[in-house]
């Protein structure tokens, strides 16, 4: 998709898969950043990374979060969020990646990346997309404790 977008010089807003199995690697993030050096109309990038916390709940420590999603509905909703965000903000591009399956504490589970000519659009869009992902996408986190019990994550 990135190659195609580069070739014809326009962003394609067709539904993209946002899901990655397991944690999102720092090297993947670096590659994603490096790919934007050819887009010399970009002046600012805003990135949000969600990281799994080793919360202690009732003396038990979270070892990992296991993510599941209603994938088809999530991708459909993400497509709407993407279209609305491009309509509202003057963005050059936007990339969203969310983990499925088990992500150990300390690892990255969410990567939102927006870019624009002037920083305000990228920053505001990134903030809004993160909030919308948390409230609108049918994704669930199951906090796995070190003793192999679990509890279902509740977003604040």
């Amino acid at each position: 998709m990135d190659a195609a977008a580069k070739t014809n010089g326009v962003m394609e807003h067709k539904p993209k898969n946002i899901f990655t199995q397991g944690a999102i690697a720092a090297t993947f993030i670096a590659d994603s950043i490096a790919k934007h050096s050819s887009k010399t109309n970009i002046g600012g990038h805003s990135i949000f990374l969600g990281q799994v916390r080793a919360d202690v709940i009732n003396e038990k420590k979270v070892a990992a979060i296991e993510y599941t999603a209603y994938e088809e509905l999530a991708l459909k909703k993400m497509h709407v969020i993407r279209e609305e965000t491009f309509a509202k903000y003057d963005l050059t591009c936007m990339h969203v990646h969310h983990s499925l399956g088990t992500v150990p504490a300390g690892e990255i589970c969410l990567f939102v990346f927006t870019s624009s000519a002037h920083r305000r659009a990228a920053i505001d869009a990134c903030n809004e997309v993160v909030e919308r992902i948390k409230t609108e996408l049918p994704i669930w986190g199951k906090e796995l404790f070190e003793d192999e019990t679990h509890q279902w994550k509740v977003n604040q």
């Binding site: 599941t68 209603y70 509905l73 992902i133 977003n155």
Partner: protein, 77 residues
């Protein structure tokens, strides 16, 4: 005989499993009534309902082979 696929997500999976098939339920209200008989623990849970990947807010008629999903509060990110 009308057949409906029911999907459960998040903590509802702990109560009812990931999915099941139900026969002869004509509406979401009818479906919920039957589910609550089968899984009394569902009564204490909050969830939204999606029929064929559209979230609904009122009682909705079901059609042959449609998919009903029970979605507890999201906790992605």
């Amino acid at each position: 005989m009308m057949r409906v696929e029911v999907l459960f997500f998040g903590k509802l999976v702990d109560i009812a499993g990931a999915s099941l098939q139900m026969n002869n339920v004509r509406s979401t209200d009818e479906l919920l009534e039957q589910l609550r008989l089968q899984y009394p623990a569902l009564a204490a849970e909050k969830f939204m309902i999606a029929v064929d990947k559209k979230t609904i807010s009122t009682n909705t008629s079901l059609t042959e082979n449609c998919t009903v999903a029970l979605l507890p509060p999201f906790s992605g990110g």
